[in-house]
Subunit: 198 residues, 4 copies
């Protein structure tokens, strides 16, 4: 391969765990689009309209699920905007993770780097949702960047009426996290392509 | 109130986290129907066909979600048959928990006793799904009986072709767990009705 | 038994997960002493000086561990003041839980009601420590009251220099939680003694 | 720097969460010593004799804790042999993690790759301990390899009387996990040294 491994842009797939209009977490993905480092691209996919996962549908998979899996496969890295419902991830988010992982032998997440951001009107800001998400990642074989944590509590005070994140500290944390995510994507790509050449 | 608190049968609502035909966890609910103590009744509700929860639908709630919430409210106790997908509860199960909890002020689970059973073809038998479920219960205010644990690994060896649970030890654990669940339901009912009289 | 089940005071054992002088969580136990309802008594035990648990010591148990287990057994209910270190409970707290549970057949926690309070200088206030603690409770067979949550973030702003909790909302939450804990202890005692008489 | 980054052997620090004589998890570390790939070295440290962590000791740290932190710092990677007590990591393990992380600004774990193995006489084999451990890693900034999982249930059937692991499948999983851990250590080293040269 003559192409330098860092020439192709890093493709980041952004997934929001909420389909609500006016979701702070969906807004974080829009913000991320502006904060990613040069040489990377962020595309989003609306997972809130996927059908509820059922193993009986695995073989004749619904077209939307198939399309979603394709987007995951094409990504170099995944950005999860994770609301917390009832001390865990949302059903919308868990459902996307299940479609991505199935059927056996077709895990679309396999070995990719990931990052997690959360916004919440509550005080704890999504800490427990992120904890569950990391445990799920161990099984679907995603590798989440640890730092900096991006947990944005009392989101209603930190977004403008136009749903722009205005809190400087949160913006800086997101910028650092996304830079690290892209660095990981390049590191993983390097190792994969290096291995391919050996 | 002249009625004795223990005369009315204990209504148990059974929920399976899988909509798959031939699900071992759905089969556990059928088994539970035979194992519950006298004076109790188990009804099941298929939560695998509920729409994916979205806060925008809270106010004009879909009829199936409204019907489901009504069933939860009528129950004295809830039995969760919880498969483990990707080290957590299934999206189907989490989705049911979200509909039950919403909208604010209409938490249908509030203060009820619960029990968890899991069957799995894997070795760990659902331990991690049950752990996440208990964390979710803390928020929706369900009280899960602790013992005995009902985790049935290698389910394919423990069910007959007709999907009857044949493992004696698992049957005995389920019987004990269900007896405890009904005991709790009566204890909670006694306290509520006692409080009502004061 | 001629004694009325509600005459004997409810004994609450308070355990802090920190041995640090000036610990906010230890201060919460002192505050709890003032907030418990009439008819209850709170005693504390310093678990930060117990030896590190080792199964080899189970049979010839160190005197301090034996004494601690005795205190647990005498309690009707347990109040855990749980700091969060590294997204989990402290080693000091986990160590106390292990001594209390061992050796096999001598679980001192067995079947008791419990409540959890946390103070923290961080934003998340102990949410993840409480989540882990609840998972541990499922095994040692403690039953934690769910509500209200007592998570006190930015503790440095909510305690006086004399380490008195001054935040009215936190005080009210603690009062409600402790009332619920005592109510549970009486409910459990009633059921136990009722069963004993049958 | 004239030295090639892959010439220096990869130093793996092995930590067992049990101080019990005859611990299956400590035996796994001995087994790992035989299974690591060429170019790597495994040293172990007995963390069961460290004093219980207390923030008041942070500044004048006990010599054993200081020595332990030094070993962690020197390691390129960490191997955790994690027993499960009461659905979580042992106090011995959590205590080591706390000493390693403290005081502020002196986190000895920072940014290192890690792997987890567990043996257990129970059925679930340590799944819940590993789940908690991963959540802790997010805070101390360790990066755990995801696959293959090494969970060895019913350990009493899989070790010889001389405490050698005899189960072929478990041996192969350990071999793969350790190869992956060393691969990660080299990948991380490459990135660090590359960054240092830039």
């Amino acid at each position: 391969m003559s192409e330098r491994p860092d020439v192709r842009p890093v493709m980041i797939l952004g997934i929001s765990g909420s389909g609500r209009k006016g979701s702070y977490n969906s807004a974080l993905l829009e913000e991320a689009r502006r904060l990613i480092p040069p040489g990377s691209v962020l595309v989003t996919y609306d997972v809130s309209t996927l059908p509820l996962f059922n193993q009986d549908l695995e073989k004749a998979m619904p077209p939307s699920a198939r399309e979603f899996k394709e987007k995951v496969k094409q990504a170099d890295a995944v950005l999860f905007a994770a609301p917390e419902y009832n001390h865990s991830v949302t059903a919308v988010m868990k459902n996307a993770l299940e479609w991505g992982d199935r059927p056996p032998g077709e895990n679309s997440w396999d070995g990719k780097p990931a990052a997690i951001v959360s916004a919440s009107t509550s005080m704890t800001g999504g800490a427990r949702a992120q904890a569950h998400l990391r445990q799920i990642f161990a099984d679907v074989n995603l590798y989440a960047v640890n730092r900096p944590p991006v947990l944005i509590p009392r989101a209603q005070e930190k977004f403008s009426p136009e749903m722009r994140l205005t809190d400087e500290k949160s913006l800086e944390s997101m910028r650092l996290l996304l830079a690290k995510l892209v660095q990981w994507a390049l590191m993983f790509r390097g190792v994969r392509e290096g291995a391919g050449q050996a």
